[in-house]
């Protein structure tokens, strides 16, 4: 009997001769913080891409809120409440930070995006700025994306994904491309903001300090399979994980 908010059962995915996901089964309860670890090519991003609709699994079931979402388009999955950020922040470079946020607000609004309602409407701007403030990036609101640091880009990417009614947030390497001294402040900010809203978090991460500090449960991937699924300390001390993933004790 399934109890998780997200239930992944026996999911498989191959790209030609390469099997990127072999019988992946995971149950993620509501409000949990999961991290995905593994070497490059282990299948972490494939997992995220399958859950968010970028890749259609060859077989298996991805249940979310009682509905099999495997094979749905990304926008349909987003509309259900599964949002994501990207390893390389996906932003609109010709727009300002505030305008990027306005786009997210317009799409995620309570009504359909309008052909008449001004995008720069006072209430829309207030909502956008409030979200930017929550992520401590409101001061950058009039800047264009190429002028921003990696950390601010990451935060904006996540803030945009949070504009809707998010139930699950998948963060693909939220601290990659971020300066070392910015990593923990950014993660503190993001995880606190997501937890405050009761959002279930699944994040891909290579930094084991971040994994240990922020996740409640860790899924270790190797060669398209989950080789460990437990609390951080248990997973990181697992000899198989040390051999194939971390390369030694954490």
């Amino acid at each position: 009997m399934s109890t998780g908010l997200l239930e992944v059962r026996d999911v498989q995915k191959s790209f030609g001769a390469v099997t990127a996901a072999k019988d992946i089964s995971v149950s993620v309860p509501k409000g949990a913080v999961y991290s995905l670890i593994g070497t490059n090519g282990a299948g972490k991003t494939t997992f995220v891409n399958m859950v968010t609709g970028y890749i259609k699994p060859d077989s298996g079931v991805i249940n979310f809120g009682g509905q099999n979402i495997a094979g749905l388009a990304p926008r349909q999955i987003t509309r259900l409440g599964i949002h994501r950020s990207f390893q390389i922040a996906q932003l609109c470079n010709e727009l300002t930070v505030e305008e990027n946020m306005l786009v997210a607000g317009a799409i995620h609004g309570t009504t359909k995006p309008s052909f008449l309602r001004p995008a720069h409407d006072k209430s829309a701007r207030e909502r956008a700025i409030a979200t930017l403030e929550r992520f401590n990036i409101a001061e950058h609101r009039n800047r264009l994306i190429p002028e921003l640091s990696g950390g601010v880009k990451k935060l904006l990417d996540i803030a945009m994904a949070m504009a809707g009614e998010t139930q699950i947030m998948l963060l693909d390497e939220p601290t990659s491309g971020v300066a070392a001294d910015e990593k923990f402040p950014i993660m503190d900010l993001v995880i606190n903001a997501l937890k405050a809203e009761g959002v279930t978090v699944i994040f891909v991460e290579h930094d084991m300090d971040i994994v240990t500090r922020y996740s409640e449960r860790v899924l270790a991937f190797y060669d398209g399979q989950i080789i460990a699924d437990d609390a951080p300390d248990e997973v990181l001390s697992d000899p198989e994980v040390q051999r194939y993933v971390t390369g030694g004790p954490a």
Binding site: R75, R79, Q90, V103, P113, S114, A119
Partner: protein
């Protein structure tokens, strides 16, 4: 009041442009009417450019609108300009709704070439249909205005004011659309389709809206052009006609609606005077002119308006 600056600008633009009918000679009024009609078609291209695609086949709707008006006028004796515009717009809207979803999956050169192919299919078909004039085309009588049938200078003036009114209304509506939530999503799509899809919007739907609006504007532009000229032929759908529209759209850029009509008027003026003073090399002058604009103003004439606004603030 929502959109008040747009309404005020539209009223001022209408008054200024309409006042031109008091001072402009007949030839200039005709030239302006044609330029504004073509500007409407180009405005449709600009709408698509904001989403990151350029249609090289907008002649399809320009021609379709013109032929629809002519055939309705000649076959059913309809001469009312409002009714002819409405019927042509409806036909172009319907055709746009058929082709829009098909083309919305394509980007870049594929979108451009497919749209061009559609217009060339219409060109080829019309050229072979001798019962509607073949390559010679068709003539259409002077339009009437809700029962009023002016002739000579009053006809020119009425037609010119009608064009100005349509242009101002269409321009204001497109400005409202460009500034709207959907308009901003279009701009975001131009930058990053992946982000837009992952925010939960359908990129294909947005593309289709822009294409359909372009079809509608193209049809209205074609109707006005044929009523001003009194003649339509398959050249309306030929690739060089579509190329002219793209030329104007590039010249204008996607930032400003008035810039589209200014660019259309510039093209008509440059073409008319170049044709008059150096008939064999006027295309060269046009090419050099476009080259200068692309190098000096990569964002088009519209970027000048934006730049001056930024300087003011």
């Amino acid at each position: 009041m929502m959109h008040l600056p747009v309404y005020v600008s539209a009223i001022i633009a209408f008054v200024l442009l309409a006042a031109g009918s008091l001072v402009l000679p007949d030839w200039a009024m005709f030239l302006f009417a044609m330029a504004l009609a073509k500007g409407l078609v180009c405005l449709g291209i600009v709408g698509m450019m904001r989403g990151g695609v350029v249609s090289f086949g907008q002649g399809l709707y320009y021609c379709l609108g013109a032929y629809t008006a002519t055939l309705v006028a000649n076959s059913f004796g309809v001469s009312d300009i409002f009714l002819l515009t409405l019927i042509s717009a409806a036909v172009c809207l319907a055709v746009g709704l058929v082709f829009g979803p098909l083309l919305s999956s394509y980007r870049g050169i594929f979108f451009a070439m497919l749209s061009l192919a559609l217009s060339m299919v219409l060109y080829g078909t019309l050229s072979k249909m001798s019962f509607i004039g073949g390559t010679d085309g068709l003539n259409i009588g002077a339009p009437t205005f809700l029962g009023w049938a002016p002739e000579g200078r009053p006809l020119q003036t009425a037609l010119y004011i009608y064009v100005v009114a349509i242009v101002v209304i269409a321009g204001a509506l497109m400005r409202i659309y460009f500034d709207s939530e959907q308009g901003l999503i279009t701009l975001a799509m131009r930058d990053n389709e992946l982000r837009v899809e992952y925010l939960g919007a359908s990129v294909r739907h947005v593309m289709t809206y822009n294409y359909v609006f372009g079809a509608l504007l193209g049809g209205i532009g074609g109707t006005i052009a044929v009523l001003a000229l009194g003649h339509v032929d398959p050249e309306f759908a030929f690739w060089t006609t579509s190329g002219e529209f793209v030329f104007v759209a590039i010249l204008a850029g996607y930032l400003s609606v008035p810039a589209v009509f200014v660019a259309a008027i510039i093209l008509e003026l440059v073409r008319s005077f170049s044709n008059l003073y150096f008939p064999n090399t006027w295309q060269l002058a046009l090419g050099i002119f476009l080259l200068i604009v692309i190098v000096a103003l990569p964002g088009g004439l519209g970027s000048l308006i934006k730049r001056s606004k930024e300087t003011d603030t």
